[in-house]
Amino acid sequence: MYETKTAHVEAILIMDTRSVRAGLRNQDLAGNWSRLYKANQLYLDLSLKVERGSAVLMGQVIEAKPLESRPTDAKPEPVESTLKGQARLKTLSDTVAAQVDLDESGGFRLDLPRGVTHHLEVRLSGLTVRISDLTA
C-alpha cells in the first residue's frame, strides 16, 4: 500500500549527540548516540543503545516544532495518529532485515546487528524517509 504514490526522501542529519563519560570515551563516542534528522516537515529522533554486545535502534517521528518550546527533559510530542507507518531495516543489497509498525506515539524499536551497515526506512503514508549507512 505504500509502494505506489510514495515520495522517497533522504533524511538530513541535523544534530548528533553523544555521551561523554570519563574513561569510556572511545566506547561511548563510537557506540551510543542520539540523532535528529529532518525530512520534509517531520523530524526523526533516533538513538542507538549498545548493551552487552547487542545494539538497539529506537526512533520516533515527531512534528516539526522547536525543541526550545518544551521542557528540556520532556518526551517529544507524538506524531498525529494519522501518520501510521512502519520502520524497516534494510541491508545494503536492499533486503528487508527487520520491520516493525510505528506505535501510537510514532515510535519504534529495532535490533541492529553489530558490525553490519544497514539502511533505515520509515514508511509513512505517502512518504518514505530513508537514512543510509547505520552501523552499530
Binding site: L13, I14, T17, R25, L29, L67, E68, R130, S132
Partner: protein, 675 residues
C-alpha cells in the same frame, strides 16, 4: 557503459597488495621523482594534487580530474583536483556515500566491488541529487566528452572516488590509468594515513602541552592558545571557550569566525554578533549531562537563531568542559559550511582537548583555593601571618623607593571579651573587625591577622605620608567596633617606617612591636585599655607601675596638670619625670614610651615662656604643657611654697612661666594641696 576493467587493484586491498605497495619497495612503483613529491606533501590537498598531476603525466588524455575521499562520517570530501580551478571545487560540501552510490550507474553491487564506469558526458555520481551544487559541468574549463569513475576499495569499503574526464578515453588510456593506480595508489593511501597520524600527534601534543602548563604561565593565555590549536586542527572557522555561571554564558577565549562580527538590526545600529547565543537551553541541558553535540545543519536545527544563520553560521559542534562539582562550560566550534561534522577521531580528540581544559581550569581553581587558604585567615578573611611575611618581604625587595610603614595593633582586653561574652561572640567581633578593615582600608593598604588578637597593616606611601595620622585612623576604625552596649574594642598601636625608624625588615618589625607594647603598657597603666569595669578593676589591682604621688612636687604637678587639662598619658609621663628624682631609690623598669616621654619633659624643663631658655629656645605654647606645669610647680616649691614664692612666679609670668598656669597655681594653693 561499464568499463571492462573491473576490481581495480588499489594496492591496499589485501595482504598481497599491501606488501606490494610498501614505499620504495614495490616493483614498478612510482618514479623516484613522483615518490618524492608524494612524500613531501604536507597535507591531503597537496598529496592528492601530486597524485593527479602524476596521473595526468602518465595519461595525457585526462583533461580534468577530481578525487573525493570518504571521511569517518561516510561523506566523500573533495580533496584534490587537476585541471579544475580551485575556486570551483574547494569548499564544496562533501557528498554522502549513499547519494553517490545511489547515483552510480552500474549499481550498488558494482560500487562495493570497486568496478570502474565509463560514460559519455560529464557525470559525478551524487552531484545530480545534491542540493547545494548546481552543475559542475557548466563550470568546467574545457569540453568533456567522457567520464571515467573509479571507486577505490580498501578493506571491503570504498574509501575514495576518482572522477576523470577527457575528450576521448580510449582503452589504452584506461589501461594506463589502471597501471598508474596499481603503482601509486597504495603509497598515496599510506601517506594519507601518515598525515592523519601526524595530525593526531599534533592534537595530542597540543593537549599534552596544555596539561603540562607551568604554574606561572597565565591560564588565560594557555586557554587562548589551546582554542586556536583546536580551531586549526579541527579545520573549523571559529571557536569559543565559554563557562556557564548560572544563566550567564561567559566567554573565556575566542578565535576565528564570529570574533568582532557585527550584524545589522532593522532600524538600529549594528551590534556585535553573540555567537554564544547558539547555546540554547536544550544545548546547555545536553552539555550539562556530559553530551557532545554536533549540528551539521544549523539552519534546519529547530531552535536555531536566525541572526546567526544569516550571519553565516552553518555548522556547530559543542563539547562539554566539565569540572567536578561545579557547573562547567563548553568548547564551541563553528563552520560557515553546511554538513560539517568532524570525524569521530577528531571529535574524540576535541573531547580530549575539552577534558584537558576542564582539568587545567579545575587544577588552577584548586591552586587558587589552596593559595587562598594558605595565605588567608579563615575567620576574618584578612591575610594571615604567612601572607604578612611574604608581602612585607616582597615590598621590601621591590624597593619602590616609597615609604614602607608597618603598623601593629593588639586588641586590649580581648581575653575579657572572650570570658565575658563567650568565644562565639568574640569571633563575631573579629569577623566584623576583618570586614571593617577590608572595606575601609585605604586603597593599597593591606591588613593581616597575625594570630589571636594581633593585627598588622602594611602601608606604602610617599615621603609626605602622615604616618601617625594614618596609624591612628586605623586604631579609630577598630575602636568604633562595638562589643556590647557601651563597650567598644580598644587597641594598642605601634608603628615604624622604613627608611627612618629602621634599617631592615627585622628592625622595622622590632621597632613597631616595641612601640606597640609600650603603648599597651601605658594604656594599661592609665586604665585606658579597660574595656569593661571588671577589667578596669583588675588593672587597678595589679602592681602599680606608676609612682605614687607621695612627694609634694608630684602631688602639685598632678594637681596643676589636671587643672590645666593634661591627658592621662601626659600626667603619667609627668609623674615619672618628677617621681624618680624623689623616689626611694628603688629600681623600676619603665616602659620605653613612658621613659621617652618623661625624658623629653625633663629635657625641656629649662625652656622659658619668652623663648630665651634652653636648649631649643622654645616659646609660649610651643613648650609642651606638661613642661610648663612642671616649671611652675617646681619653682613654686623651690622658692618655699609660700605667698612670696607665688609673687615671684607672678613677677616672672610671661617671661619664664605660662601666665595661665601661674594663675591656676594661685587658685590651687589658695586651697593648699594635701601634703
Amino acid at each position: 557503459m561499464a568499463d571492462p576493467k573491473r576490481h581495480l587493484p588499489t594496492g591496499n586491498e589485501g595482504p598481497h597488495e599491501r606488501s606490494r605497495a610498501e614505499i620504495g619497495a614495490a616493483p614498478g612503483g612510482p618514479s623516484p621523482a613522483l615518490l618524492e613529491r608524494l612524500l613531501q606533501a604536507q597535507n591531503p590537498e597537496q598529496l592528492y594534487h601530486q597524485f593527479l598531476l602524476g596521473l595526468s603525466e602518465a595519461v595525457p588524455a585526462i583533461q580534468h580530474a577530481l578525487v573525493l575521499v570518504k571521511d569517518a562520517n561516510g561523506y566523500f570530501q573533495y580533496l584534490g583536483a587537476y585541471g579544475i580551478p580551485g575556486e570551483l571545487w574547494r569548499g564544496l560540501e562533501g557528498l554522502p556515500e549513499a547519494h553517490i552510490r545511489a547515483d552510480f550507474p552500474p549499481g550498488e553491487t558494482a560500487w562495493y566491488r570497486g568496478e570502474s564506469h565509463l560514460e559519455t558526458g560529464y557525470h559525478l555520481p551524487g552531484l545530480s541529487t545534491f542540493e547545494l551544487v548546481n552543475d559542475l559541468q557548466a563550470l568546467l574549463p574545457a569540453p568533456v566528452s567522457q567520464t571515467l569513475t573509479l571507486p577505490l576499495l580498501a578493506q571491503g569499503q570504498v574509501w575514495a572516488l576518482l572522477n576523470l574526464h577527457g575528450c576521448e578515453l580510449k582503452p589504452d588510456h584506461r589501461e594506463a590509468v589502471y597501471a598508474y593506480l596499481e603503482r601509486v595508489i597504495g603509497i598515496v593511501r599510506q601517506v594519507h594515513e601518515y598525515q592523519q597520524s601526524k595530525r593526531r600527534s599534533l592534537w595530542l601534543g597540543a593537549i599534552n602541552s596544555l596539561l603540562r602548563l607551568p604554574r606561572e604561565h597565565p591560564l588565560e593565555t594557555a586557554l587562548q592558545d589551546a582554542l586556536e590549536e583546536a580551531l586549526r586542527l579541527s579545520e573549523a572557522d571559529g571557536a569559543r571557550l565559554v563557562s556557564f555561571e548560572g544563566d550567564e554564558v561567559r566567554t573565556l577565549a575566542q578565535a576565528g569566525w564570529g570574533v568582532g562580527l557585527e550584524t545589522p538590526e532593522r532600524g538600529r545600529p549594528v551590534r556585535a554578533l553573540e555567537v554564544e547565543a547558539a547555546l540554547t537551553r536544550t544545548v546547555r541541558f545536553k552539555l550539562s549531562r556530559g553530551e557532545q553535540i554536533s549540528i551539521p545543519r544549523y539552519d534546519l536545527y529547530p531552535d536555531h537563531r536566525p541572526e546567526l544563520a544569516e550571519a553565516g553560521l552553518s555548522s556547530l559542534v559543542a563539547l562539554p568542559v566539565q569540572r567536578p562539582g561545579v557547573e562547567g562550560g563548553a568548547l564551541l566550534l563553528f563552520k560557515t559550511q553546511s554538513h560539517w561534522l568532524p570525524d569521530l577521531q577528531t571529535r574524540e580528540l576535541l573531547q580530549d582537548m575539552a577534558a584537558a581544559i576542564g582539568i587545567v581550569r579545575h587544577e588552577r581553581l584548586l591552586q587558587e583555593e589552596l593559595s587562598w587558604a594558605a595565605y588567608t585567615d579563615p575567620l576574618t578573611g584578612l591575610g594571615n601571618r604567612r601572607a604578612f611575611e611574604r608581602d612585607l618581604e616582597n615590598l621590601h625587595r621591590l624597593d619602590s623607593g616609597r615609604l614602607l610603614m608597618l603598623a601593629l595593633l593588639d586588641l586590649d582586653g580581648f581575653k575579657a571579651i572572650n570570658d565575658t561574652h563567650g568565644h562565639v561572640h568574640a569571633d563575631h567581633v573579629l569577623v566584623r573587625l576583618g570586614a571593617t578593615l577590608k572595606a575601609r582600608a585605604r586603597a593599597g593598604d593591606r591588613a593581616y591577622r597575625l594570630g589571636g588578637d594581633e593585627f598588622a597593616l602594611i602601608i606604602e606611601g610617599s615621603a609626605s605620608l602622615d604616618v601617625s595620622r594614618t596609624a591612628e585612623r586605623y586604631r579609630f576604625l577598630i575602636e568604633e567596633i562595638k562589643v556590647a552596649d557601651g563597650e567598644y574594642l580598644k587597641a594598642s598601636l605601634g608603628y615604624a617606617v622604613l627608611p627612618g625608624d629602621a634599617q631592615d625588615l627585622a628592625d622595622l618589625w622590632r621597632v613597631a612591636d616595641d612601640r606597640m607594647y609600650d603603648d599597651k603598657a601605658l594604656r594599661r597603666l592609665l586604665g585606658g585599655a579597660a574595656s569593661s569595669p571588671q577589667e578596669a578593676r583588675r588593672n587597678s589591682s595589679k602592681e602599680p607601675l606608676s609612682p605614687e604621688p607621695s612627694t609634694p612636687l608630684s602631688r602639685l604637678t598632678t594637681r596643676l596638670g589636671q587643672a590645666a587639662g593634661l591627658g592621662p598619658a601626659e600626667l603619667q609621663a609627668l609623674a615619672w619625670a618628677v617621681g624618680p628624682a624623689e623616689a626611694s631609690g628603688e629600681v623600676v623598669t619603665l616602659p620605653q614610651a613612658v621613659l621617652r616621654e618623661a625624658m623629653a619633659l625633663l629635657g625641656a624643663q629649662y625652656e622659658r615662656w619668652d623663648g630665651k631658655g634652653l636648649p631649643q629656645g622654645l616659646a609660649g605654647e610651643s613648650i609642651p604643657l606638661a613642661v610648663r606645669v612642671l616649671q611652675v610647680a617646681r619653682d613654686y616649691l623651690r622658692l618655699g611654697g609660700s605667698a612670696v614664692a607665688l609673687a615671684a612666679l607672678r613677677a616672672e609670668a610671661r617671661k619664664a612661666y605660662d601666665p595661665r598656669l601661674v594663675q591656676l597655681l594661685a587658685q590651687i594653693v589658695g586651697t593648699p594641696p594635701d601634703r
